[in-house]
């Protein structure tokens, strides 16, 4: 059946049809939907793991047990899973194992723009890169065969514009291969030095065989056109090149991006007058071509940063570009904001009011760094708030340490905050960690996590008790506050900052967007009492605005959280209780 399908959905469909039996992932834009769609297939065991390292180890374990397995993650998630990745390359697999990694050129929803192809090279693993949904589907399916044929986990790289674009896919039926019996094989699966030493040459030999595959595979194909210019491209860059150049140029389209072929490239280069590599992010194909001693144009023409577009390709290759008319007036920017009723807002307001230095983390609450609260000092990676705070506070002579806190979401805390907290409990100090517990993984679109009590299918599951966990690792002072209650939040922050021992504040209130959360009636402004002092506007609530000097609350956005009510000294914000 022909369907319009998101790249991520197509990956899930391909894996499913190839007999995927077990999937473990951690959500991360733009990879999340792959595993969400897998979770809709009842024949597949699927789960959200606490982090990508765990997910990859689960997938490897399942592969060793003899079933086709999968883990998916965003590019920075592969950093977390890098440890098992490199050694899984040595052990190889039993049943096929596929690892999807989603890069985010242009950083639509990421903290850096790293290029995952480096991992394939460094870990010496095959990597496939689809350029639309139909290739996502076909390559996901093929990846299992490849994995089993070459005894290696296979990396499937998608980028945002493939993962989150829909195009036509023709689907088929699911076929499940029989379980591959597990046989004890210490030399293959126990990677102590003596065994690993014998595995490494096998890995190198595998790469040689994979190069031979890359020379002949239909995934690497030449589309002949004009021969004045020959372009090597993969992924979305291929689509942009075809869009702009059509048949003016010849294109070597690479579907296997690691390892790269040699003879195929030499043959292609010899038949075109000028060779150009068009690749987003790092010059990986280009460096390979140069190492072959072939003259090539690459990054001297195309940027190392940001995602490409057809306009960029057209400009660089001297094709005409259409121009639109822009409005001359300065159009106010519309940055993403914390939602009306977001429970994080009250805590951020409290931290700003008390002059705290805030080491932040990855999640919706990173938006606390935006205007008008500017309530964050650092954001690095998952978990870095907690461990970073420990270092910040132990830096000799740091006067800011007295008022420094870490803020981290519930899911991020489970992912890699808890190890930082163990470090604080173990090595001491007086750090205050605030867990912003909104009872869901918010930014990636409401996935369950170990603290929510529900699994990936929404069924009841084990529930990690955050208070008990923090106490169990050795934190003596653990308290819970409702961030809608500004007085209680302020008291908690002041007392825990003053305490001469490590402490945890759990700022608990479910995400206002959760369907299970009941909203109160929207609030209103009493125009007779309001003096337009703008105290209510300090919190950056999108429901509150000022027009012609008059404060108004947008009833379609307001969920009646009452944080602004507590800021009004004139009693001008009222709810349904107004007489």
């Amino acid at each position: 059946m022909k369907e319009l399908m998101l790249g991520n959905n197509a990956v899930a469909r391909g894996l499913y049809e190839a007999g995927l039996s077990i999937a473990s992932s951690y959500p991360g834009t733009p990879s999340t939907e792959i595993t969400e769609v897998i979770a809709t297939y009842d024949e597949v065991y699927s789960e959200w793991a606490p982090n990508e390292k765990v997910a990859m180890e689960v997938a490897l374990g399942a592969s060793i047990a003899g079933r086709r397995s999968f883990c998916g993650m965003k590019h920075v998630g592969l950093n977390v899973a890098a440890d098992p990745l490199f050694t899984a390359s040595y052990t190889g697999v039993n049943a096929g194992m596929v690892i999807a990694v989603a890069d985010d050129p242009g950083m639509h929803s990421s903290q850096n723009e790293q290029d995952s192809r480096h991992y394939a090279i460094a870990a010496k693993l095959p990597m496939l890169e689809p350029s639309d949904s139909s290739e996502c589907y076909a390559m996901a399916k093929y990846a299992f065969e490849l994995s089993e044929e070459f005894d290696a986990p296979v990396l499937l790289r998608v980028c945002t514009r493939v993962a989150h674009s829909q195009s036509v896919v023709e689907t088929g039926e699911r076929e499940v291969p029989p379980i591959v019996p597990y046989e004890k094989n210490i030399a293959k699966y126990v990677m102590m030095p003596g065994n690993a030493k014998r595995r490494h040459p096998i890995v190198e030999e595998r790469t040689r065989k994979l190069v031979a595959l890359a020379e002949a595979s239909s995934l690497n194909r030449v589309e002949w056109g004009g021969t004045k210019v020959g372009i090597i491209a993969s992924g979305t860059a291929y689509q942009y090149v075809k869009e702009v150049c059509g048949d003016d140029v010849s294109v070597l389209k690479l579907g296997i991006v690691n390892p790269l072929p040699e003879k195929l490239i030499r043959g292609f280069a010899s038949k075109v007058e000028k060779l150009i590599v068009v690749e987003e992010l790092d010059p990986i194909i280009e460096t390979h071509v140069r190492a072959l001693g072939i003259a090539v144009t690459g990054k001297e023409l195309f940027p190392l940063d940001d995602e490409f577009t057809q306009r960029l390709i057209a400009r660089k290759l001297a094709y005409p570009v259409p121009d639109g008319k822009a409005i001359e007036e300065n159009v106010p920017a519309r940055p993403p904001v914390m939602c009306a009723g977001c429970p994080h807002r009250g805590m951020f307001y409290t931290l700003v009011k008390n002059g705290a230095t805030v080491l932040g983390d990855i999640g919706c609450y990173t938006l606390g760094a935006a205007a008008p609260l500017f309530a964050m000092d650092t954001t690095i990676c998952m978990g870095a708030s907690v461990s970073g705070l420990h270092g910040f506070n132990h830096a000799p002579g740091n006067e800011k340490a007295a008022k420094a806190v870490a803020v981290i979401g519930d899911s991020t805390f489970m992912h890699s905050g808890v190890t930082g907290l163990i470090n604080i409990a173990y090595n001491g100090g007086a750090s205050t960690v605030i867990i912003l517990d909104n009872s869901i993984t918010g930014m990636t679109g409401h996935q369950q996590n170990p603290t929510t009590g529900l699994n990936i299918k929404g069924d009841p599951a084990g529930k990690i008790d955050l208070e008990a966990l923090c106490r169990a690792v050795g934190i003596g002072r653990v308290r819970v506050v409702d961030p809608y209650d500004l007085a209680a939040s302020e008291l908690a922050v002041r007392e825990e900052l003053a305490a001469n021992e490590p402490s945890v504040i759990i700022s608990r209130r479910p995400c206002a967007l959760l369907k299970t959360v009941k909203h109160k009636k929207p609030l209103s402004i009493d125009a007779e009492k309001c003096v337009s002092c703008k105290a209510c506007m300090k919190i950056g609530c999108p429901a509150i605005s000022i027009d012609d000097g008059k404060i108004t609350i947008d009833a379609t956005l307001c969920v009646g959280c009452g944080v602004c009510t507590q800021l009004c000294k004139f009693g001008a914000v009222y709810g349904e209780d107004k007489a």
Binding site: H108, P322, V331, R334, P336, G540
Partner: protein, 190 residues
């Protein structure tokens, strides 16, 4: 057939994803090659969001670039202005007249530009500005504003009503189907 481009722009949370999926479904049913590019994650949190729908005999790039959009469907007036430079010469803008203040306006740092529809028209844009929010409310729910806008857009395509209806049935959950069918009709007819 040369690839045609429809941009759907709005504010995160307004339902532009469903609108693009409706259009994508219709176009694939009509036998076109189709690509729809969406944005998920961070920018959905009340930020400016844009979705690209492209169709033709063979579509390569999933993106629409400056000066390429034959149609811009805007869920909010300021967003129509923001993305104007993506409109192709002679292109059509179908926009909701609803105004949603962005953070710089909310905080009073900037003001919401006045008379935007007239300004866009003055720049040569063929603009159809209408109150899609009221149309959606008349149909039963403000949330159906996305489908009301698609109903309006349908005026400018030659696809039969029953093709749109089949696409609606394919992409809208059953319990909201009647509401969205009404919103589509009201959007088309007002």
């Amino acid at each position: 057939m040369k690839t045609k481009n429809v941009m759907i722009v709005g504010v995160g949370g307004q339902g532009s994803l469903l609108a693009s999926r409706l259009l994508g479904r219709l176009l694939i049913d009509e036998g076109f090659d189709v690509k729809v590019s969406e944005v998920h994650g961070m920018s959905q949190r009340g930020g400016s969001v844009v979705t690209y729908v492209r169709f033709g005999d063979k579509v390569y790039s999933p993106l629409i670039d400056e000066g390429e959009a034959g149609y811009i469907v805007s869920f909010e007036l300021l967003e129509a202005a923001r993305w104007l430079k993506y409109l192709a010469p002679g292109g059509k803008i179908v926009t909701n007249t609803q105004r949603i203040s962005p953070m710089p306006v909310i905080t009073g740092a900037m003001s919401y530009p006045a008379d935007l529809a007239a300004k866009l028209a003055a720049l040569g844009a063929d603009i159809d500005a209408f109150d899609a929010l009221s149309a959606a409310e008349a149909a039963g729910s403000a949330k159906a504003v996305n489908i009301a806008l698609m109903g309006r857009l349908s005026r400018y395509f030659e696809f039969p009503d029953d093709a749109w209806e089949r696409a609606l049935e394919a992409v809208v959950p059953a319990k909201f189907l009647e509401l969205n069918k009404r919103a589509f009709t009201v959007g088309k007819q007002t």
